[in-house]
């Protein structure tokens, strides 16, 4: 790959190819043939030194790779022309995303070409980070990591998988440590725990496409979730099935998925379990579905949740609950999904368990919830994260149990609630290394920053935690030469780290590319799909970007775990720090396309804002676009409010993403970060952070202002026009059959 790129056109000539300057435009308008506007000898053109046969100037070539914009790891194709990657699209060979790509994936190129990337190693000296050479940086690493006690060393990453994950494990082992904090703000860690306990598998396949009805308890599966493109593809099938699927979304704040629901119900935050119990009550006691496998304590909990009580607590009308429950039995198989709102409570585990119990009662397990099988390469599987590790890390840092930490792919200083006191705690860690692409909060607090290649210039393998129809390893290959001379691949850095510890073992690998070639060669023949030799296997893998692996068969169990009686929601306003498909947990705040893409529901751009129900706002004397102060016990944030009916009256939502104090020109000092004011409540069973459990008070501090809060779209209604026409499903059945 890198050979093909060596003869790329020189950069200046690109600029000229692209730039349509004012002067050019003006001259181009000139009409007289005598004043020829095209000058010869002004532009440079650099020939290839020795081109590959398939590289033709002026013709774009698509290369397969893997997206790392979120943890889903979709397969991508990148269009490369004259040595530059221009556009990313989904890889049709990847069964995870079937050639589709979400907005975050599309914007990957902007991360790659971002003007604010770190372009050389930075070392802290005299309080400031100053550029140093790699030699110096590596020498410091060698010195510091050599001196550290293995037990006081840790890695802190985001979701990580594939061979990089294996190498991280190896490095930890070489260091004599076992502490690998994996942190993701957008996660389903609590659900995974429940799945593990109830189904015997933490990442079962959720077959939305097989369901005839979905009841989602705030699962924003098409929005900011663990694999949005995959589930959106399944949703499309769910909707276009012979019998059009019915989506009921129950959540306190309308999510992207909620926007597409047939029935959207605003539930009081924190009362999801009550509703689930109420529905179970109806199923068992009214519809008389069998209660096989339900423990007695749970059964009595169910019986104590009669419909009137449930309706009162949750704020969901009784007849709605009855109707939805009725439909669930009529439209089998169905699927009941727990979402972030259900998980992020002090009793998140109980809530998810109550919700998943419905699947058990309805007999969905095995029908719409399938086993994802035994993945044959456990060492490559994704290390999925949550917020528990963040809390653990903060704890460890505070109690001074860490001397050296390497950060990669996660930004805990941004995502940690201020109440954890992480920034102070981290100061106690003697040596903090950030392997980072951007100057984010965490890397700017590190003692040593190693600039890493973007995923479009790097080698790697990714294993999606939630696999598509076929289990696969996704290959990540550089789509172009490094943009900045002084950045290095993550795998290469890992190898360097390992060579510093166990040189004899890793000296044979010149670089990560060599390591991967070797690792691929060592893969069992079954995976190689009858490739004649290792080279052919390698080339095929690069070409398709996907190595399909047959996963071993496995059966799901379906048992209901015991759980405690659920809480009944907070008394005041509950803060919902909602992640958006786009800026996600804030990692994409530096991508201007995503900042300029309006929020799907509230249509706000380039800002942070609070969403409230008009009735709540009226009670508090707040008008649309007012400046408000949202205060929790931990602090407050000041931002503008946008009134949205897609809210429960007891909730106030502040989307995540903005509020960076560092992160390049597009993100810095824009908006506020609601994570900062979260209470550090722990989920009782899993130790995750209960992100949706913070009670806040809201006060108006400033008048409405049209200019400060920018919303796309002038009208909330179609004003009598036939823009989005709607038909009842019966009509669809009439015309297109069912």
């Amino acid at each position: 790959m890198s050979e093909t790129m060596s003869g790329k056109m020189n950069r200046r000539s690109f600029l000229k190819v692209m730039g349509w300057s004012t002067a050019g435009a003006t001259l181009a308008g000139c009409d007289l043939p005598s004043t020829v506007t095209l000058e010869e000898g002004k532009e440079d053109v650099v020939s290839y030194l020795m081109p590959e046969e398939y590289v033709i100037p002026g013709v774009g070539v698509w290369y397969a790779s893997t997206c790392t914009q979120c943890a889903a790891a979709c397969g991508i194709h990148g269009r490369v022309r004259e040595g530059r990657v221009l556009k990313l699209e989904g890889n049709p060979d990847a069964s995870l995303n079937h050639g589709k790509l979400c907005m975050m994936g599309q914007a990957g190129v902007q991360g790659h070409y971002n003007p604010d990337r770190i372009t050389s190693p930075l070392m802290r000296s005299g309080g400031n980070l100053t550029p140093v050479s790699w030699d110096k940086a590596l020498a410091l690493l060698e010195e510091k990591l050599g001196a550290v006690n293995g037990e006081r060393f840790a890695w802190f990453t985001g979701t990580i998988s594939g061979h990089q994950a294996a190498l991280v494990d190896n490095h930890l082992e070489a260091m004599g440590s076992s502490t690998h904090y994996v942190h993701e703000v957008v996660n389903n860690a609590v659900s995974r725990a429940v799945y593990q306990d109830m189904l015997g598998e933490s990442n079962p396949r959720l077959r939305l496409d097989k369901a005839k009805m979905i009841v989602s308890f705030g699962a924003d599966f098409m929005g900011a979730s663990v694999s949005p493109v995959h589930y959106a593809g399944q949703y499309a099938k769910f909707r276009t099935n012979k019998e059009r699927g019915l989506l009921v979304q129950v959540e306190p704040k309308m999510s992207l998925t909620g926007g597409s629901a047939d029935l959207w119900l605003a539930i009081k935050p924190g009362t999801e379990a009550v509703l689930a119990l109420g529905m179970a009550n109806l199923l068992l006691n009214k519809i008389k579905v069998s209660d096989a496998g339900i423990p007695a304590d749970v059964r009595s909990l169910i019986d104590s949740h009669d419909i009137t009580k449930v309706a009162r607590i949750t704020g969901v009308a009784g007849h709605r609950i009855q109707r939805v429950t009725q439909l669930l039995t009529e439209r089998s198989p169905s699927l009941v999904l727990p979402g972030a709102n259900a998980e992020g409570q002090a009793q998140g585990y109980d809530t998810v368990a109550a919700i998943m119990m419905l699947n058990h009662i309805l007999g969905n397990v095995g029908k719409t919830i399938e086993s994802s099988g035994e993945f044959p390469f456990p060492q490559l599987m994704a290390r999925q994260g949550g917020t528990a590790d963040l809390l653990a890390f903060a704890e460890a840092a505070k109690s001074q149990k860490l001397d050296a930490v390497i950060f990669h792919g996660s930004n805990p200083l941004f995502t940690a609630p201020a109440s954890l006191g992480l920034s102070e705690a981290m100061a106690s860690i003697g040596f903090k290394v950030a392997i980072a692409q951007f100057p984010d909060e965490t890397s700017m607090a590190a003692d040593l920053v190693l600039p890493v290649n973007s995923y479009l210039e790097d080698w790697g393998t990714q294993v999606p935690a939630n696999q598509g129809e076929d289990a696969a390893i996704h290959v990540q290959q550089p789509l172009m030469e490094k943009l900045h001379a002084d950045t290095r691949g993550f795998g290469d850095i890992l190898l360097t780290l390992l060579k510093q510890r166990k040189n004899d073992e890793y000296a044979q690998f010149e670089d990560y590319y060599a390591y991967l070639r070797n690792a691929f060669a060592a893969m069992p023949a079954g995976v190689k799909n009858n490739a004649k030799n290792n080279n052919e296997f390698w080339n095929t893998a690069l070409q398709t970007g996907v190595i399909k692996v047959a996963s071993g068969a496995r059966q799901l169990s379906s048992k209901v775990v015991s759980f405690a009686a659920p809480a009944e929601g907070g008394a005041g306003l509950t803060l919902i720090p909602s992640p958006r498909l786009g800026l996600f947990d804030g990692r994409h705040a530096n991508l201007p396309w995503l900042q300029e893409a309006p929020d799907q529901i509230s249509k706000v751009v380039w800002d942070s804002w609070a969403e409230m129900h008009p009735a709540t706002a009226a009670k508090l004397g707040i008008n649309d676009r007012d400046l408000i102060k949202v205060s929790s016990a931990q602090g407050n944030i000041t931002l503008r409010v946008t009134l949205l009916k897609g809210m429960n009256a007891d909730a106030i939502a502040v989307p995540l993403g903005n509020g960076h104090t560092d992160y390049g020109r597009y993100a810095k000092d824009l908006g506020v970060n609601p994570l900062q004011i979260l209470d550090a409540i722990k989920e009782k069973k899993t130790g995750e952070l209960a992100m949706y459990g913070t009670q806040v008070t809201v006060k108006k501090v400033g008048p409405a202002d049209d200019v400060s809060l920018v919303r796309m779209g002038a009208s909330d209604t179609q004003a009598g026009r036939k823009l989005v026409a709607t038909i009842p499903v019966e009509q669809l059945r009439r015309t297109e059959g069912s």
């Binding site: 599309q106 959106a232 597409s260 629901a261 029935l263 179609q718 823009l723 989005v724 009842p728």
Partner: protein
């Protein structure tokens, strides 16, 4: 020559849209967008930014209404009277509808926008003098004007390396709009020409249709009867041409296909399929 030409082809030159216009169309690119599948996720819009060198204008200019999103997702709330939007939102991907009888065309003083033999509503950036009449006469409001020169501000180095060399970066004073990714059409047509064959259905996919996670957007050539889009148009009995024609063509009023502002007789090339609602 002119006089000859006029006399010989007079009747041709007097043909309007009703008789198919003066073009012998090579293609008539069209779309069908299933609103029941549109989840409003913005993937299409972002893909459009990536493909078509769209400028990012920033908060202030966005506030002024100077954003450049060729493809925008409009979000409407129906059932305003309810306390909560119980049927969710209504999303509408809106881009240039490539009208057959486009109102933007006849008003351009310099013929910078015109109809191509591909059935596209072309915008020749170099010819545009920025009178903005086209945009004023567009009922869909999908033409975007370069109120500033965005080259420096929108693509600070090295972001400009991402720019697609297959189409221009527009400078200030120029109108622009969705082109159905004409550069992709052009590439595919060139390829087909080099291979002495016709363009196949599915060979051209605009960035938005390509990206759409739910495949709500179907793109193709309505002149190719076997194309997916032609079949969809036919199935939903939406015909090209003016309102009266279409209305009479529609024998089954229950069918979901419709075109926005059909009554304005602009003959859009985008057919939407109605969103389906199930009352619970």
């Amino acid at each position: 020559m002119s006089l000859d030409n006029i006399l010989n082809h007079w009747s041709d030159y007097r043909k309007g849209a009703e008789e198919g216009g003066h073009h012998d169309y090579e293609h008539r690119w069209a779309m069908a967008i299933n609103l029941d599948l549109c989840i409003g996720c913005n993937a299409c819009s972002t893909a459009c930014y990536a493909e078509n060198n769209l400028a990012v204008v920033g908060k202030q200019k966005f506030e002024k209404g100077q954003a450049m999103h060729w493809m925008r997702i409009e979000r409407y709330w129906d059932q305003q009277e309810l306390e909560h939007p119980e049927q969710g939102a209504s999303f509408l991907p809106m881009m240039c509808q490539q009208c057959g009888a486009a109102t933007c065309e006849p008003v351009c003083p310099v013929a910078a926008t015109y109809h191509t033999p591909d059935g596209l509503n072309a915008q020749v950036y170099n010819r545009c003098i920025g009178s903005r009449y086209c945009s004023n006469n567009c009922p869909f409001r999908v033409r975007y004007f370069n109120f500033y020169s965005y080259y420096e501000s929108s693509w600070p180095q090295p972001l400009e390396q991402q720019l697609n060399p297959d189409l221009s970066v527009r400078d200030k004073g120029v109108m622009e709009k969705c082109t159905f990714c004409v550069q992709r059409i052009r590439t595919v047509k060139d390829k087909a020409y080099m291979e002495d064959r016709k363009v196949e259905d599915g060979e051209v996919t605009p960035a938005c249709a390509q990206a759409c996670p739910t495949s709500a957007i179907v793109f193709g050539d309505t002149m190719d009867e076997n194309s997916r889009v032609a079949k969809l148009w036919k199935k939903h009995q939406v015909e090209r041409g003016v309102y009266q024609k279409t209305r009479h063509a529609k024998k089954n009023a229950d069918l979901r296909g419709y075109r926005i502002f059909e009554e304005l007789n602009v003959d859009p090339s985008v057919m939407y399929l109605e969103r389906v609602r199930e009352d619970v």
